[in-house]
Amino acid sequence: MIRLTVNGVEHTLDVEGDTPLLWVVRDVLGLKGSKFGCGAGLCGACTMHLNGQPIRTCIMPLSAVAGQNITTIEGLSPANASVQQLTPVQQAWLELNVPQCGYCQSGQIMAATALLASNPNPSDADIDNAMSGNICRCGTYPRIRSAIHKAAGMMSAGSHPQAARNGELFSEVTLPQAANSEELSHG
């Protein structure tokens, strides 16, 4: 049995310890927002936060994160959130129509959220550096760059109601149903 806290909910999992965290979160906990792209830590589509730091979950064995806190894209804002309930990063993404196919965007948003938590006013070079591990095959890079600047502006202006908790868990009450069950096993 391996214990893990995902989006504020603690789980006790009967899953082989070498299973990458990505597949545990997707297929055992049912949170499908984090994506499989390369299986080798090369594209960033699977990015989640481990104690607030972005990690590549497609190569992270479950046993290596036992007992720790994981945040996924579903943990940033409530399920079926209104636009106002989204984080500054998500709102900036929305306002600038960043996604195309959208498949990489959960990972991009998790990486950008972690960047802004540690560097509230990043330069273009900071952004290039922090985001270079996340591939977007549709080529939305110019908009990602603009959206990160925009989110930084929203947060520093302090006017954004979600600004204070960007990058942190929104609340534990409104999590998706699938994540609430205590004991989940996966053959």
């Binding site: 049912g30 998500q90 129509n97 196919c101 965007q105 996340n134």
Partner: protein, 744 residues
Amino acid sequence: MDKSLNSGLSRRSFLKASALSSGGLLLSVALPGCAAIGMKNQGMVSAGEWQSNAWLRIDTDNRITFILDRVEMGQGTYTGLVTLLAEELEVDPALVQVEFAGVGSAYDNPLYKLQITGGSTSVASSFKRIRLAGASAREMLKQAAAQVWALDNTSSLHCDNGQVIHSSGKTLSYGELASIAATFSVPEDTALKSPDEYRYIGKYNKRLDAQQKVTGQAVYGIDVELPGMLYAVISRAPAFGGTVKTLDSSAAKAASGVVDVFQLQAAGRSGVAVVARSYWQARKAQQLLQIKWQTPEVAPSSDAIFAQYARDLDNEDGEQVRDDGDFSAAAEQAASTLSAEYQLPYLAHATLEPQNCVVKADADGMEVWAPTQSASMARVAAGKHSRYSLDDIVIHTTWIGGGFGRRILQDYVAECAVIADRLQQPVKLIWNREEDTAHDWYRPASLHRLQATIGADGKASGWQHRIAHPKVFEWFVGDAAPAQYPFMPKFMFPMLASAGKLGEGILAPKDSSGYEGANDVPYALDNIDVRFIHSEPGVPVGYWRSVGFSHNGFVTESFIDELAHQQKQDPLNFRLELLARHPRAQSLLRRVAQLADWGRPLPGCHQGVAIHKSFNTWVAQIADVQVEGKTFSVKRVVCAVDCGQAVNPDMIRAQMEGGINFALTAALYGNITLKDGAVQQSNFHDYALLRMPEAPQIVVDIADNQYDPTGVGEPGVPPLAPAVANALFAATGQRLRRLPLQLA
């Protein structure tokens, strides 16, 4: 009001109104006469209720539902087509709910007679059809209001925000009127709004699918989950056409969670499937397989393929696809000539969502969930590879994590159909990145020889372009031909496929994938000779974003640049002079030159220009490129596009940005190589994609006009590589005639 509709759109035969069983209005596309066969999948779900071919549903509770007959893979079709409907229906596009269509001949792309999303055709082919559906519904709702209010006609009525409004100010909502409207037949002379009446077309700048994509809620194919679902992975023969020589699966079968291990043959490929209770268990067991592969007799390596192309160019005249003037005479009379050979590699699509499929098969039939660009071809693939007839197969289309042409081919559906048919349980097949890279349907490699003639007066007099390239259509026809004739019994499919090969003019447009963008070279030279030399190396090929234009755009726009320099002319002015017959192209070139400040590059940079027309859209680009030693970086790309009436300007900008970065990946890195019939690249470390630090600043300008809309998903790609290569020539004097671009 614009009454000039395409003659092909007879309204009487096109739309059909009916009542929903729950009350409300349903507008469907009337089926052509012969399509009464195969009704179960084409709409006659229950007693007289047309469903799967419906386009528009208005429920009594004011819900407006649009059934999207194109797939959304990032290109913005979802937003584009809803905008067209909402414009005529007079509702906010954000209020229209969207469902993805199943299989139905009503959803066929009128250009291909196939239910397919490709060729940058969605908005172009739907521009009038969908507006007409919206306008017809609007007029029927007005008629319904006139009946309720006992008016003689609808002249005192107008529609706004989902309501019919009388000049007195009283209103009725669409939901209140839908059931009455459903009793009318579709009016025959519905006028469409004129451009000066547009509220959304050309103005609507929201992306309707953005919110579910920034919250992780959009369900892609790989996210589909069914109760009791198993997970499958497949080891495939590394060399194309390879087979299993020996297999020892005992260790894999004994591994934790494994349900089944077996050999399979699907979509022309041999492999071994491992099915387990979880994905990771299947992957771990796959490592335990002991397989020896039989390499096929023909197992080419890259060098041999280009040698074959060169041989065929040496020996074959090929098919002449453009013949202006008399090139041979021009060559005989030439004072000098300019010759060059260009070479382009195979390219993988590398959609970020790897190929995957979910299939449920049982006594009731087969259901398929697939991120596919063609629901009808997915159904053929599933039918060909299972016991089920097409009428017993239902296709569910999902969000798609990148298409770029990869998902026009249905091999992953075929594979999953084989597995689910055998197990009679729900199965999800997931390819990993290595498999996705090694078993794609690649953008064909090609070899080009060009010759320009210079007359005694020193001016360019002739242009010859000879192309060695396979026929993409022959790799695609197996599923495409039967999808055009779904009522044919399955045993006829191979015959249809071979008929498609023999008589492609009957079943599909002529295969122009080798020479499109070359035979229509736009420059006004008196003698032009373009030839297609069919050369088939036996490597699976497919449609890759911008298809033939992707290589011919690079070749023609590089060689015209060579010619400009040979003529000691400014490359931009040289093009302008030779484009006298294409005023839209000329004005686009002038516009891009103005925006990029042609002749005054960014500090430390050099500029290159290119213009290319693909999918009826002209795109001109100027790249500012900085060279440092043997490396270079693209600092800025200015892009001007003329795609006719802009429906969603921001979606067009996004497609140009995306097309430029997609093309820059190919220009910098893209190179699939083969050794002994197998692809040598595997993942993003050796098949690199563009990343944030290499992404240039991009400026997009959209020509303002009201011609019918043309494609935007692909046309941003072709001009980029030649613009960069032309800038590198300006910077270094090196003419790079191969992709990816590498300075000496």
